[in-house]
Symmetry: C2
């Protein structure tokens, strides 16, 4: 019998990578089990259904994001630094590795994923937008960001362009994603 080290965490890591790489309908328990050198029932032991596995991935991501956001080292940053930190997540951990964000991956196939997962993704998306909106308002008040209209609307624009930009990077290359980020900044910074 092969034992997986930190089974639950290792499985979540792999599932997250697969979700960002192939999408929910593009990966199977066999992908995970073969990668770990165990039988697929071993995965079902930890996560009975694919829906539960998907939800666990998103839930962990949500928790991680809240930890980052409430981290004092992040909290003390200026609005620009916070935004750069946010962008760097997308650039370093997604675009440069050919991945897309969980939200984009699963909203693209929203109508063919389980309902609990839809709920989880919706919650994550709302949390990301809420934070981004706050930072934008903060930055505009501080006179370092400049934009017309509501922070909420600027937030959906920026997040949508990051989400779409990561997907574009797959077909057209990472450079194009960096162009998106640069253009966001050009349109925002004073």
């Amino acid at each position: 019998m092969v034992k997986i080290e930190n089974s639950k965490r290792t499985i979540l890591n792999l599932a997250e990578a697969l979700l960002q790489d192939k999408g929910f309908n593009g990966f199977s328990y066999a992908h995970i089990s073969s990668e770990l050198g165990v039988k697929n029932a071993a995965i079902h032991y930890h996560y009975p259904t694919k829906e539960s596995l998907g939800c666990a991935v998103v839930k962990r991501y949500r928790d991680r994001f809240q930890l980052w956001v409430n981290n004092s080292r992040v909290k003390d940053l200026s609005p620009q630094e916070k935004l750069d930190w946010f962008f760097s997540i997308y650039t370093d951990m997604r675009a440069d590795k050919g991945k897309v964000c969980l939200v984009g991956s699963m909203e693209a196939e929203f109508n063919s994923i389980p309902q609990d997962l839809q709920v989880e993704i919706t919650a994550l998306h709302k949390e990301l937008l809420a934070w981004l909106q706050t930072i934008l308002a903060e930055g505009r008040d501080a006179g370092v960001f400049k934009f017309n209209g509501e922070p909420a609307n600027k937030a959906v624009l920026i997040h949508s362009s990051l989400q779409g930009g990561l997907q574009m990077a797959r077909a057209l290359g990472t450079k194009r994603f960096h162009d998106v980020v640069e253009q966001i900044k050009l349109d925002l910074l004073v």
Copy 2:
């Protein structure tokens, strides 16, 4: 024997709707055949492989876009009108119907779709961007658009935000997509 009217076209229409609704890995030949009241072999007769069916959908979309673009009624429009026409495609035919664009749908699961389809999607994306870039340059020269940086970069930003915005609409509602479009305009129009 049940005969499908305009078989090829009807199948393409259904496949296109399914692609925009469920993604490439989220639909099967059975979805199409049962909807049309025929056997799945009937679909294979017209499109031997799923890859060929996917490619045919994207190819038709590319042709259709080129026709629109070269249509004299579109060609004679002002840059703003052209852009509004472009946005209206996304709003009327996608967001308001819960669909996403083909490009976004398939780039999200890019690493789990056939290679020929990847090529086709890449070509479509380039064509969309090329046109958008031209319109942006045209509008800036005419003094009706205002933005910093290169038209190419503003084009990738706008297209990415439309692509991501459609996906967001699934989880957060259509209104949010309209917000994205309004914000694009706020950031662009003089």
